[in-house]
C-alpha cells in the first residue's frame, strides 16, 4: 500500500485562504453526470470552481490538491472523487469533508485525507510536498508544514485492499 505521496501542491485558494464549501457541482458539474467512463471524467475536474477552470488542463499526475472545510458537500456523485482519480492526482487533502464524499473516497480506495493543521504561509502553488500517512505528516523539503488527522482502520484496510469490493472479500 502506498503510504507516502509526493507531488506538486495545488492549494485551492481565494484571498490567501483555502476555499471552504467546495461542493460537488463545483468539483464536477451536474451537466457531465451522464458520463460513466472514468477516463472521460478528469477533464471536468474543478471545471465549475471559479479561478480553477483550467485546473484539469494544468494538473499533472501525482499532484496533490489541498482544500478547505466541507469539501465535497452536496450531491452523492462518485464522479466528484473519480475525476481526481481520472487525472492521476496523487492524493487530496482537505480540512474537512462532506459525509458522502468521504465515503466515496474511502470505498473507491482513493487517497483522500483530513488535514489537522497546515501552514499555508509555507505552502505555495507548485511547491513539492510529501504526505506520509504513517507519520501523519506533511513536509516540504524535509520541513514539517502540516499534520493529518488519524486515519480510521476501515479507511486503511480499504486502501490496502484496493476498494470496498476487495475489502469485503477478505472479511
Amino acid at each position: 500500500m502506498q503510504t507516502v505521496f509526493e507531488g506538486k501542491a495545488w492549494p485551492l485558494l481565494r484571498d490567501g485562504k483555502l476555499i471552504d464549501d467546495i461542493d460537488t457541482d463545483m468539483i464536477y458539474h451536474n451537466s457531465h453526470l451522464a458520463i460513466t467512463d472514468i477516463k472521460q471524467m478528469g477533464q471536468y475536474a474543478l471545471g465549475n470552481l471559479k479561478g480553477y477552470e483550467s485546473f484539469a488542463k494544468e494538473a499533472k499526475p501525482g499532484d496533490i490538491v489541498v482544500a478547505g472545510q466541507n469539501f465535497g458537500s452536496g450531491s452523492s456523485r462518485q464522479q466528484a472523487i473519480d475525476c481526481f482519480k481520472s487525472l492521476g492526482i496523487g492524493c487530496v487533502l482537505v480540512m474537512s469533508i462532506g459525509a458522502i464524499s468521504k465515503r466515496n473516497a474511502i470505498n473507491s480506495g482513493y487517497p483522500l485525507f483530513i488535514v489537522e493543521q497546515i501552514d499555508l504561509g509555507a505552502l505555495k502553488t507548485g511547491d513539492t510536498i510529501r504526505v506520509d500517512i504513517d507519520k501523519l505528516e506533511i513536509t516540504k523539503a524535509g520541513q514539517k508544514v502540516g499534520s493529518l488527522a488519524p486515519i480510521s482502520k476501515v479507511q486503511r484496510d480499504i486502501l490496502e485492499a484496493g476498494n470496498v469490493f476487495e475489502y469485503a472479500k477478505k472479511l
Binding site: D20, R103, F165
Partner: protein
C-alpha cells in the same frame, strides 16, 4: 448506555455494539438507485459481481426522478441500462412517471419509522422526517450494498436542537427550516446526526417534517431525526400495512451539542445565492426583481405544499413576463392536486405545470436559469451553477407564489 435515535435505529440493524464514533456493519432494509448514479451502480455491480444476483430483490428498487423523462440520449441510455438490469434481476423500477424516490418510499410504505434505506440521492436522509435512517451514497457504495445487503457505517454523534416558541402566523415549515440552516450554517452540523424537539416540531405535519429534514444536508448533517408524532406513525402504518411503533431517543442520551433556536418572532425567511445558509428576512429583499419562480423539489413539492400554494394563487395571475413553474414531488400528489382542481388553478394563473420529479435541481426537467436570471425557488440548493447560470433565492412556496404574482421578491402577506 442510553442511546440517541440514530444509535437506536442502527443498533436494531447491527450485531455489533452501536455507539457514536464507532464503525459498525449495518443491515439495510431498502437499497435504491436513481437515474443519476444508477447506470454507474449497474456498471460497478456488473464489473465486481459478474452474473451475480442482488442480495434481496424485494428490498432493492430503482427510482428515476432526476431527468424525467430523459432529455438527452446519454440520460435515456443510462435509464435504459438500469431498466435492463432491473428486468434481468427482477428489481422493481419506479420509472420516470413516479416522482422523487424518497417521497415515493415514504408514500408507499417502503420505509417506516426505524427503517434503514440507502440510495444515490444525497437528500435521502430526508427519511428522518418519519424517524427513519436514510443515507445518500455514491455509486460504488450502492453497488456494494446491492450485493451485500449491508455496509460499514461510522456512527455519528448527535446534536440536539430545541426549537423554542410556536411558528408565527405567516410563517411555514420552510421559514423554520431556513432559520435553522442560517443559524447553524453549512458546516454547523457537519458529520453529525440532528434531533429536533419543541412545540413547533411536534405540531409539524408530514409535509413540514419533510421540508425540515430535506435541508439537513445543507447544514452538513449526516442525518436529521424528527421523533415521529402519532399522526406520522398512523400514516406510515397505513402506507406500509405494518404495525409501526417508532424509535425514540433514550432518556439521558448523550448529545455532542445542544442548541436552542427561538422562533417566536420569526418572519418569512429567504436564502440568498450562492449558499443555502445566506438567510435573511424576505422583507429585506423586497426591491429585488424576479425573472422566474420554481415551486416543487424534495423540499417543497408535496401535495400539502402545492395545495397551500394553489389556494394563495387562486383567482390571481402570474405577473406578465415571469416564468413560473410547478413540479409535484410524486404522481400520487399530482393526481390528488388534479382531482381537487389545484392543477387547474395553477394553469389558469399562468404557471407551467410539469410531470412529477426533482424539477429544477437536476439540470433539465423544467429548464434551467440563464446568465443573470433571478429565480425564486422552493428547493434546497442555490450553489453557483446548480439550477443554471442565474441567481437562485430559496424560499417557501408562499414567498414563491407572492414573488411570481408581483414579479419581485415578496411575502404572502402582500398578496392576501
Amino acid at each position: 448506555m442510553p442511546k440517541t435515535m440514530i444509535e437506536k435505529i442502527l443498533q436494531a440493524h447491527s450485531k455489533e455494539d452501536v455507539n457514536a464514533g464507532g464503525i459498525v456493519w449495518i443491515d439495510i432494509d431498502v437499497r435504491s438507485a436513481r437515474d443519476f448514479g444508477g447506470a454507474n451502480v449497474v456498471k460497478a455491480f456488473n464489473q465486481h459481481y459478474p452474473g451475480d444476483k442482488v442480495n434481496d430483490v424485494s428490498k432493492t428498487v430503482f427510482t428515476f426522478d432526476c431527468n424525467v423523462p430523459a432529455n438527452t440520449i446519454a440520460y435515456a441510455s443510462n435509464q435504459h441500462a438500469c431498466r435492463k438490469f432491473a428486468r434481468g434481476q427482477g428489481i422493481k423500477v419506479f420509472d420516470c412517471d413516479a416522482g422523487i424516490g424518497s417521497h415515493v418510499a415514504i408514500e408507499n410504505g417502503l420505509v417506516v419509522p426505524g427503517s434503514t434505506m440507502v440510495g444515490t440521492d444525497s437528500h435521502l436522509n430526508i427519511l428522518g422526517a418519519i424517524g427513519a435512517f436514510g443515507q445518500g451514497m455514491g455509486d460504488q457504495d450502492i453497488a456494494f450494498v446491492f450485493r451485500a445487503g449491508k455496509t460499514w457505517f461510522e456512527i455519528p454523534e448527535t446534536m440536539k436542537i430545541d426549537i423554542k416558541g410556536k411558528l408565527p402566523k405567516g410563517c411555514t415549515a420552510k421559514d423554520l427550516t431556513l432559520k435553522v440552516c442560517g443559524t447553524l450554517t453549512s458546516k454547523g452540523a457537519l458529520g453529525m446526526a440532528m434531533e429536533f424537539y419543541g412545540e413547533a416540531i411536534d405540531s409539524l405535519d408530514l409535509a413540514g417534517r419533510i421540508t425540515l429534514a430535506s435541508m439537513a444536508t445543507e447544514m452538513g448533517a449526516i442525518a436529521p431525526m424528527i421523533p415521529p408524532s402519532k399522526d406520522i406513525l398512523k400514516f406510515c402504518g397505513k402506507a406500509s400495512g405494518k404495525k409501526v411503533e417508532g424509535v425514540f431517543s433514550d432518556k439521558g442520551a448523550k448529545y455532542a451539542k445542544e442548541i436552542t433556536i427561538d422562533i417566536s418572532n420569526l418572519k418569512p425567511q429567504i436564502a440568498k445565492p450562492p449558499k443555502p445558509d445566506n438567510v435573511v428576512d424576505v422583507e429585506s429583499l423586497k426591491d429585488i426583481k424576479v425573472d422566474s419562480v420554481f415551486i416543487g423539489s424534495c423540499t417543497n413539492g408535496t401535495y400539502d405544499d402545492l395545495a397551500r400554494a394553489a389556494k394563495l394563487v387562486k383567482g390571481r395571475h402570474v405577473k406578465e413576463g415571469i416564468l413560473a413553474s410547478v413540479v409535484p414531488a410524486t404522481m400520487a400528489g399530482y393526481k390528488r392536486l388534479l382531482k381537487e382542481g389545484h392543477i387547474a388553478t395553477f394553469v389558469e394563473a399562468g404557471f407551467l405545470v410539469s410531470n412529477p420529479g426533482c424539477g429544477g435541481c437536476a439540470s433539465g426537467q423544467i429548464g434551467m436559469t440563464g446568465k443573470d436570471e433571478v429565480q425564486v425557488s422552493t428547493s434546497n440548493r442555490n450553489f453557483a451553477g446548480k439550477q443554471g447560470d442565474g441567481f437562485t433565492y430559496l424560499a417557501s412556496p408562499d414567498t414563491a407564489v407572492a414573488s411570481a404574482l408581483l414579479g419581485r421578491i415578496a411575502t404572502a402577506e402582500e398578496v392576501k
